[in-house]
Symmetry: C2
Subunit: 438 residues, 2 copies
């Protein structure tokens, strides 16, 4: 049953409870496990990978089987439907077009005589994508991680994903994932998952090269491993379970709202699906429609669980209050199913992605609208953004001063180096002035 | 003595050793200490802050003394020289002008009928700046952190810095820091440092508000605390000790090179100062000049130590090899003191900031050229960039589809939801099509 709350204080408390459903503090013992796994991979390389794969994935691999072979890559194309291939290509085209917008590029300026300033952007040398196995083995995730790296111009992109995601219980990888990877230009794929895969990408092994940036979602062990290797490599974010918050008024269709809430709930028992509406009648109708649609869902037990634990309808005084509550939650996905959705944008301060109007279910953005579906969760939208081309770029500041330009600022630098007690800093400027005088 | 190596294999090994001088693995026991401090601050708020300040800083504060008073802020202006105030204002002007360049702004596009896509940029609600005490209490650091936050439009910026940085041994804060903060528009300053200050900013206490992003350098406890709270808040980076790598040819002045190397070495016993040159004569002259300048340095013992441990001159076959070695090290600061420095930019792939030519000592960029002096260290330039306005901005993806646009992609979405086993995702699209038909 999807609960309805009507008091603002209760709504706030519920939103806070849902937002804090996965606090890092619960994972201290897992952190120690992850640290041990990372250290083993760092010290023992492939050997540790094979041992952990046998232990955690119940799959025995030889070192040469770590990398997915060319024959498997080719065979994957035979295993997917023409419809899926067409869909992947459409998705790739739209995602790539969006990510090619506003890519930052290098620049210089000449603010005064003898002075050049600027920034030079470069891609990282090597990126590693983590693609989960099991229930979350999604080809769309491959596209959403690989395409920004390609658009950034990363010369070498590798992918890791656990064995067994083809459902064989063996070594195989879901063919849809292998096809998505190849469509996105990735040929180097290793069948290894979990914290051990993150360790391999961060430190390198005999088979798997060390990368500069690791992106992609995973379970709690993968997330804790990404946090631990952050600083040795760059990472995209610490992804938590998915969530949607919908603001709807009487113009919305309760059947559609229910479907959107369920589309979130079906991801994971920890997924959160929230509706804020000023319309009590709509709230009742959605509650009823959710109950009906849950009954019909092939994965009813999972959906029931997430709806019961992390589903919520809050009846709010007005849309401005809904926006304020949404800012408190800072949702990963925000749907504005109201008569004038663009009027509601102004008060929204934090959201990973915003879906406008009655014909933009989140699924459009999940798959192919173009913007990235890797978004900040658990309130991280307060300070973080979608994965993007920038995740795979970095810049160097460029600075040139000439002798006269240096002389003009020498006094100011001297005053600052004295205040900071750094005499050699001052000397590095003063010695250059003396030479100019001679 | 600044060592000279001539074999490439030795140079590479030395650069790797210097790069790895501060590996996170050395800090496992400190991580536990930091975790305990963060938990205490989270649970006990101000009380924990005051206890840790008494323990670590030997300063007894009452809760009302945590915040630097208006009277102290005013008095700070009397304690700094007119030269320093002028210098801070010049630095502020140039840093602000540079950071106002290429600030990302919101946009939408209309790629096809009924489709709107875009990004909306917003500043974070609240930023917290950490400014170290002791030897590293630098007013320039205040400007470099505060100005990007101001340019981003962050409505509330607070600063934390340990008591005692005025050298009184008491509660006072270095007046140059208080003046720099006010010049940059910050009035809310708390006298607390260390991991406990990071905890206060991440979780909030009775006195100190919870922020969304924490930036600024600190000692190893501050850095470990930033890593642990990352995910609860955003952070700028995990700063390590400072470093410079200089590539120079026979056109460079050995006295200037020596001064630049010492300007790095004087920061910290862990600071690294490296020269790569194809000119053996220059190498000898720099070694001699460093010895002479070290003798004259007021902080001779510290400088000797960092030069001996983490200083290096490598004689390389040519400038291209120097660029390759520099990429291996991925230096925070890179000086190109060669006859044609811009010709050497192409092969440089990783560097936090690049200083061109003979009249651009790093000190120019440290203080006032404009680009940020908060830069990636310890090889992080392979994947990370300078602190900037983006550190305080985030964006929401904007997506709107109309009914016909949705219908056109419905088949592709259906194929993808089936491949991913997410039927409610498909339903959320299909149900909307049925309504359109009726």
């Amino acid at each position: 049953m999807l609960r309805i709350v009507t008091q603002m204080i209760e709504a706030e408390a519920e939103l806070r409870r849902i937002s804090e459903r996965t606090q890092a503090e619960q994972h201290i013992h897992r952190e120690a496990t992850v640290r041990e796994i990372l250290q083993s991979v760092r010290r023992q390389g492939d050997r540790a990978l094979l041992e952990y794969t046998a232990e955690f994935d119940q799959v025995e691999l030889s070192p040469s089987e770590l990398r997915v072979s060319g024959a498997e890559l080719e065979a994957a194309y035979q295993a997917v439907s023409p419809q899926l291939l067409t869909a992947l290509r459409l998705a790739k085209e739209r995602i790539e077009a969006f990510h090619r917008q506003r890519v930052p590029s290098s620049w210089v300026m000449f603010p005064a005589p003898e002075i050049i300033l600027g920034k030079q952007y470069r891609p990282v040398d090597r990126a590693g994508l983590y693609i989960p196995g099991g229930r979350a083995a999604y080809p769309s995730t491959v596209l959403m991680n690989a395409i920004p790296a390609q658009v950034a111009g990363v010369p070498e992109i590798v992918m890791v994903t656990p064995p067994g995601s083809d459902g064989s219980g063996g070594k195989g990888v879901n063919p849809a994932i292998l096809v998505a990877a190849q469509e996105a230009g990735i040929q180097t794929i290793y069948r290894v998952g979990g914290a051990q895969a993150i360790g391999a990408l961060a430190y390198g092994t005999e088979t798997i090269p060390k990368v500069d940036v690791i992106t992609g979602p995973g379970n709690i062990y993968v997330t804790l491993a990404k946090k631990q290797v952050y600083g040795t490599v760059g990472i995209d974010s610490l992804a938590g379970p998915s969530e949607v918050l919908i603001i709807a008024d009487e113009s919305a269709n309760p059947i559609h709202l229910a479907a959107d809430l369920l589309a979130q709930a079906e991801h994971d028992p920890l997924a959160a699906a929230i509706l804020l509406t000023p319309d009590p009648k709509l709230a009742q109708q959605v509650q009823q429609a959710v109950a009906t649609q849950v009954e019909a869902h092939p994965n009813r037990l999972l959906v029931e669980k997430s709806v019961a634990n992390y589903g919520l309808i809050a009846i709010v005084p007005d849309l401005q209050t809904a926006a304020a509550l949404s800012n408190l939650f800072a949702p990963e996905h925000l749907e504005l199913q109201v008569a004038d959705p663009w009027a509601l944008l102004e008060p929204i301060r934090h959201a990973g992605a915003i879906f406008f109007g009655h014909h933009t279910p989140e699924a459009v953005g999940d798959y192919l609208a173009g913007p990235n579906h890797t978004l900040p969760t658990a309130g991280a939208a307060r300070y973080a953004s979608a994965l993007g081309v920038e995740t795979f770029l970095k810049h160097s500041s460029l600075i040139q001063y000439g002798p006269m330009a240096l002389r003009e600022v020498a006094g100011a630098i001297q005053a600052l180096t004295q205040a900071e007690g750094l005499p050699a800093h001052g000397q590095s400027v003063q010695l250059r002035l003396e030479e100019d005088r001679s």
